[in-house]
Subunit: 319 residues, 4 copies
């Protein structure tokens, strides 16, 4: 039984992690620290957690209750983890950070589970990937074994929970319903994260990345278009995909990748089409699942030596 | 040509009034005052106003540009109109206040257009009714000519724009989609407004009022259940309804009142059923239309002697 | 290990039952009979069942594979169960029928779990209640121990899955989004079901029942207004509620009953307000959960002697 | 005053055309022929047309009531116009066909208004473009004056009304809400339409076209990525765009193209980004507006010599 604390527990991804860990057979939840909601019941803030008795704890509570061997999930705003994580590590805890703070740090294991298991298993600190990079890299990385693309174009569609739970006008129901909008057109945080991981794998392809918000709460579909100098054969892709993901529980091929099929799960569905010199890869994930809390729990399972599917194998509800 | 100024111009109802007045043949828009958005273009805040060149003006701009004979629509937060309106009246303007500030003031004309035309036409200051009272009173007032109910139960369902454009967690897309919730269960501002108008018409019935938010941006359906001491005949209701609304453009009977049929319009659709000693009245309006901006423009037409339908006769879009 | 067959397996409620039973530790799924989809994979029709290998089986397959002691969930259209169920019973199976076919049959156990456990436990055939009657009766039945109401008004709001998966224009996305509509105003199937159960408990109150569709896929909120001849005290209601539901896992009091809190679960959240001679009871359930598949599984647990929460205790996803 | 008949009047695009033409000052509506709904009132099928008295007329009614000089909008299913249009032309009518039937016919004017005004003005028969080709071509055609792209990738997101009003399971609310899905991955009708028009302009670029459905009723956002052999400068695009659309009312540049800004209108909003050798063009239109009925009315105005904005200049509703 491992104690898992959540630092920055009041956001959507943190709440989803709490939901998953609540049902985890080898884990118990410790402090659920939230600066803004200290002392309040989670069930008053998250209808999904209605039957639970959890309460947000005060600033400093994770640090105070931490024991060596515990795990901390840090889910604060970007920029905040840098201040909190070192003390957790010093106290002997292992940390999975859901923010962007450590994703550019060579000394930290990048938590794209299927591509970095060995480092994650041994890591003291895991930088959990962003939702856009997760979907993009899962779809694109297998292709790199075939050839170097000359241009990569990533067109991503996300549910609004990706924008977090901070109340902004642009996240209001009346602004999101009936709208499709591209954003971050002058530079999005996730673009360098994708580029960095590609470069680590010797792929220095120019990337055009366009994120969009569409009217749903959770889920993400990424269309990645890789333009090559030669035509790629379907058989080459099949082989590369098989090599990359054979035996993996969460990343599977689908004839029609579907957000409704992966929402609420840790799964990714991918389809490839070889279209002349362009390969189109379509990947569906849940931005709060495989794109955040689900992958964090998967990484926790890897770190602690539990079967990877532990607490991640439930079917999602129908409709 | 009358100049109409908007005071508190950054909310949904104000923007909808601007949309309507933009197409009004006998009106030109004056100052569009907003404390929070002074100097900014409306088209940057409201996609619906994209083709317009309007800009929010600074605090004090309405007062500064006001001329006798102008009209001011005050659409600030509840409590704010009390401070601004007296100066507008002193300057010789006529005022239509969309807040609750003057709805309980005997000296002010209550702007339920179909029931108060004479006073509205002559008024210097009109208190535009709330959306819930509008739908409720349009449905219930005709029944009072038949008999006194012993109990009135009003169950209302509203789109989220009724909560305004202030960014609150409870108005976020991810909180509203998939949710149906009753609110204001320990007392809602609109309850005394309904009760007051009923009392003015010698109806002192106990009222149970339950507002709900459902997942759509605009529109409202109110089910009013009036319990009487005797059975009411359908013919009595037909007669009362005909007497109340014959010849009115905006209030019509419908076999199946539909929010989709009235959204974007100033119309109300009503259906009655005589069910033993209970009469059920179902009324659909647009909370931003007949429940706010539409009725304000209707009242403006009444005040200025224009045909009531001026700028209010467009069909809404299909789907 | 009990084998559970589904007859009429292609609807939303059937698919949700399959989802729940897939995770049930003491049950294995048998034939999943569907006239229209025989031979097809469930994962191709229901994204939620993507990871499963289930296939619809052909007409007659349930009857052919049935063994004494099996359970059959019949989830066909209303009117169809009458033809199929007798043969299942003759073969020694126990049956839970999700249609309306047996809800008016005195010899059949009415499956409102919390109010009829003993009969359900012993029954060969259980008539699973409709979603509207479930929410209504859970809220209203405790009040009958206090006094007889003189009028009962039930105003219900439902997600569109209640209309089933048959493709009708009125269930299209473009017709439901942006719409609130009352329906069945000239008589709804669920009205006599509610009345019948109330009469069984010696309550012959006149009922006004108004169902509405609002723009969400699943979930239901019912506002029941019971008008009495005397004022009811809050303490009386508290006592009656406690007597009715103390120790029950699925029916709980909530300050603000929330569809988002019960969607995907078998739970019901109820709130009462004593408002003079009227008591308002607000009840939130999932129309496919406690209103259909969830209650069917609960009844199955009761019939088979398993703990009632078996396979029904998962938290729903966040957002 | 020109009489305009609608043939195939029961779909979303036809209803939207009726809405627009209802307010057209120089047009009166004639026969509204529908095989399936003959004799029924439009207001019973389309809430948006509630205040109108139009009725669907029977098969043959357009032909029977046609006079030389009339206009017919044909909006039947694809494949049906070929059978009906010749008789309309013989009778001396001019025809605007909203189906795909004539879009590949060299003798027919392709109705992309801004790019083909002269031919449209003189045409007896106009093939109104599909929604995806409209958005794509409006965005891409200006670029062809700069250089030939080596690869064109079009990633399109559409509201569900694009799938029409036929009741299919895949268009049900419960299937569309919460889903993002790519479709037509093995070939989509609109792909050759785009390719054909590009070829007419001597552009033989390989096209990858990926349409998606997202959860909203109407509106479309197209991201077109044109990969060139050299870097394109922003100034080149500005010049090309200005040359293409200066003085046009409906096609404008926008910093953030928004479906909410164009829904209900005939407008298109476009933004370009020069990103190395790739140019990203984002175009927002209303699939029922500029993508269907709006453009049909624009073409009608061009054919009849009316100002292009006639009946197309209303602002859309706020929220």
């Amino acid at each position: 039984m491992t104690t898992v604390h959540i630092w920055g527990a009041a956001g959507y991804a943190a709440a989803e992690a709490i939901r998953l860990l609540h049902a985890h057979p080898f884990v118990e939840l410790g402090a659920l620290e939230s600066r803004s909601h200290a002392g309040e019941a989670l069930c008053d803030h998250f209808p999904a957690l209605r039957r639970t008795a959890y309460r947000f704890s005060a600033t400093g509570s994770v640090r105070a209750s931490l024991a060596a061997g515990d795990v901390v999930l840090t889910a604060g705003g970007h920029g905040e983890a840098h201040e909190a994580v070192p003390a957790f590590l010093e106290a002997g805890a292992r940390v999975i950070d859901l923010s962007a703070d450590y994703r550019f740090d060579d000394g930290v294991a990048y938590g794209l589970s299927e591509w970095n298991r060995a480092r994650i298993a041994a890591a003291e600190l895991v930088a959990n990937p962003g939702c856009y990079p997760t979907a993009t890299l899962l779809a694109v990385l297998p292709l790199l074994s075939i050839a170097q693309p000359r241009q990569l174009i990533v067109d991503a569609k996300s549910g609004i929970t990706g924008a977090g739970r901070k109340p902004n006008v642009s996240s209001l129901f009346a602004e999101v319903a009936g709208e499709i909008r591209a954003y971050g057109l002058d530079g999005h945080r996730h673009e360098p994260e994708i580029t960095r991981i590609l470069r680590e794998r010797d792929c220095d392809v120019p990337l055009v990345f366009t994120p969009h918000v569409v009217p749903l709460a959770r889920g993400m579909l990424v269309d990645a278009y890789a333009v090559f100098d030669r035509a790629i054969a379907a058989a080459e892709i099949d082989a590369a995909f098989g090599q990359a993901y054979a035996g993996n529980a969460f990343v599977t091929h689908a004839h029609a990748p579907s957000v409704a099929a992966v929402a609420g799960t840790n799964r990714a569905e991918i389809r490839y089409d070889a279209l002349g010199t362009t390969v189109r890869a379509i990947c569906a994930i849940d931005n709060l699942g495989k794109g955040a809390a689900g992958q964090a729990v998967q990484n926790l399972n890897i770190m602690l030596g539990y079967p990877e599917e532990t607490a991640l194998d439930a079917l999602r509800v129908v409709a």
